[in-house]
């Protein structure tokens, strides 16, 4: 061990950058990815709508310094549209993940605390939601609600809880066998007391990480269902709308309409993924040493 340390020290002396330990690197990655996501939101919110107005003498410009993502057939700046779209995706993602996490927490806790019948019902409900392809469920719910922003948000929010419910249920089941919980029960604490004082504090990290890791799914599903035409109306700057519009201009060679918005979406989803993974390794000591 000491020889490894010595090597690390000698490296840090010769290298220009200070050598960070694993925890510091994890923190750095968290800060960087959070900063990237925040800057997307800031960009989307600060950009005025004047960038989105039609500008017919600047139609179909390929990417340049002035318009890094090019312009579309109405002369709108694609960078501005993409940033607005990503911000919208983010809002949908926040709403959907929060609702999903709340549902998952309620169901998972209920399944693990209220006995076999409730547990069976919750497990069955999870299986029911996982038994139909996710995208088909989204289409069905969006269809029921008549599409639109409300339809998309509700569809995405109401369908992302099953896997997290399983995780929370398993976690609670494990916690309940822990000695301090058993002792607490023998001391005559109520189920509610145990649930709120013993179980919830242990679940908070899980929930936080689960929340962040739900984001990528929620955002991708929002984009997918919007792309299929169920979601946001064509006037709204959503990435799904932008990409489905770009399909009509592919054969004319306007490749930038599809490339950059999709790439930006990919980067954002990946940033959430990295953020979630690093948060988990910071919070969960069991996988911190992988």
């Amino acid at each position: 061990m000491s020889s490894v340390d010595a090597v690390a020290v000698s490296h840090s002396r010769t290298g220009r950058l200070p050598r960070l330990n694993r925890r510091q690197r994890t923190l750095l990655v968290i800060v960087l990815s959070a900063a990237l996501l925040l800057s997307v939101v800031a960009g989307g919110l600060l950009l005025g709508n004047e960038m989105l107005t039609t500008n017919l003498d600047q139609r179909n410009l390929s990417p340049s310094l002035e318009h890094p993502f090019g312009t579309d057939w109405l002369g709108r700046d694609m960078l501005a549209r993409t940033l607005k779209g990503l911000t919208l995706s983010l809002v949908v993602g926040v709403l959907a993940s929060t609702v999903s996490v709340l549902i998952a927490l309620t169901l998972g806790m209920a399944a693990a605390t209220f006995g076999r019948a409730v547990d069976g019902a919750v497990t069955w409900l999870v299986d029911l939601f996982l038994s139909v392809p996710h995208l088909v469920v989204l289409i069905l719910i969006a269809f029921t609600l008549g599409g639109g922003t409300k339809g998309v948000i509700l569809a995405v929010a109401l369908t992302h809880w099953p896997s997290l419910t399983r995780v929370i249920r398993a976690e609670v089941l494990q916690l309940r066998t822990a000695e301090f919980v058993q002792v607490s029960r023998r001391l005559g604490r109520t189920r509610w007391w145990i649930a709120t004082r013993h179980l919830l504090p242990h679940l908070v990290p899980q929930i936080l990480v689960g929340l962040v890791l739900l984001f990528p799914h929620a955002i991708l599903h929002e984009a997918a269902i919007t792309f299929l035409g169920f979601g946001l109306s064509p006037q709204q700057p959503a990435v799904g709308v932008i990409l489905s519009e770009s399909m009509r201009h592919l054969s004319t060679g306007y490749w930038w309409l599809a490339l950059f918005p999709g790439l930006a979406l990919l980067v954002m989803v990946r940033a959430f993924d990295i953020l979630g993974d690093n948060l988990r390794s910071l919070v969960d000591p069991r996988i911190a040493h992988e």
Binding site: D127, S131, P133, L135, I141, L265, L266
Partner: protein
């Protein structure tokens, strides 16, 4: 027949019976829930049926259509009527295709099956190979590359990748057609097998490239676990070569989870094929589902939901059965080792 064999067969039958019962309850629930959902849609079924002729249809005709579809009955009555018809094999008539739903689904699913089957096999084989390479070389640059590549794929929107392939191979290089399952303007009997393949390549490539990620990451992790096990340590101590260890201990222990995972991921494959079919205008079941949803074709939408549920269930059932047949540690029936 020896008694153990008889016990074994009985256990298999009990297992299948239990699973079928489970499918039954889930399917009934899926039917009731979906029916309840679509009956609350704000889209008027008569308008959806009439379509563009909305100005030429008078109130009497509308009433006649509503009566014909049974739209005036109370919801419960409609649910029972529909459920009974579905059980008899009559899934109703698709409004947009003007054909029985069963026919639409079977025709469209055949096209989708070619697409999904190709992608399923290709992504399985390549994903497994990538996972083995990464796991065997854990910690090296090639492992990091494969891991990074797979994690990035997992964040890639399916339809965007499809668009990129379309831009590069269809628009720039002109190697592949821009869309549709068969060439436009050609009679259906004149469509050759080659034409179908040409139209299948890009959508299948999209799904295969994305499908690799899951199975590769899973296989890698399993292989890393296996290579860290005591029996591999013992094999090394005996002086077996790395290749022999990989071949004898690695592959055997890793192949089964990979196959199971592939079967269990049919749900994602189905979702992916919906998006890929939409991008490439490939006339499969996914595209029909999207059309049904957009244009308010309730019978077809319900049919697609039920079919999707059966499809996913069959995948999971196959995964379970394969696991139990191959892996002696998992018993049939409710044994102690069951890992459901």
């Amino acid at each position: 027949m020896r008694p153990e064999e008889r016990v074994q067969i009985a256990a298999v039958l009990v297992f299948i019976a239990r699973k079928s019962f489970r499918l039954g309850t889930l399917l009934v629930a899926v039917c009731v829930l979906s029916f309840w959902l679509v009956s609350h849609s704000p889209i008027d079924p008569v308008n959806a049926y009439v379509g563009a002729d909305v100005m030429r249809v008078g109130p009497e005709q509308r009433a006649a259509i509503a009566a014909y579809w049974g739209l005036n009955d109370p919801p419960l009555q409609r649910l029972v009527n529909w459920g009974a018809a579905v059980l008899r094999g009559d899934w109703g008539t698709s409004m947009i295709f003007r054909q029985p739903v069963i026919d639409v689904i079977s025709e469209r699913f055949t096209a989708s099956l070619a697409l999904m089957g190709t992608a399923w096999v290709l992504s399985g084989v390549f994903g497994f190979a990538l996972g083995i390479i990464a796991g065997a070389r854990q910690g090296t640059w090639i492992d990091r590359c494969i891991k990074w590549y797979c994690l990035t794929l997992a964040s890639t929107p399916t339809f965007w990748l499809g668009l990129l392939l379309l831009i590069v191979f269809a628009v720039w290089l002109g190697w592949a057609p821009v869309g549709l399952g068969v060439p436009a303007g050609v009679l259906s009997d004149e469509v050759t097998f080659g034409d179908r393949i040409r139209h299948l390549v890009l959508p299948a490539a999209t799904l295969s490239i994305l499908g690799v990620a899951n199975v590769a990451l899973h296989t890698r992790q399993k292989l890393v676990d296996v290579l860290a096990s005591d029996y591999v340590l013992f094999a090394r101590a005996k002086g077996e070569s790395e290749f022999a260890i990989l071949w004898k201990h690695g592959l055997r222990n890793v192949a089964l989870p990979a196959v199971t995972l592939q079967f269990a991921s049919l749900s994602e494959l189905f979702g992916g094929s919906i998006l890929a079919e939409q991008v490439f205008a490939y006339p499969g079941l996914g595209q029909a589902t999207v059309q049904a949803g957009l244009r308010g074709d309730v019978p077809l939408l319900l049919g697609a939901v039920i079919f999707g549920a059966v499809f996913v269930f069959v995948g999971n059932l196959l995964a379970d059965i394969i696991y139990r047949f191959v892996d002696p540690r998992i018993r049939w029936g409710g044994g102690r080792y069951e890992q459901c």
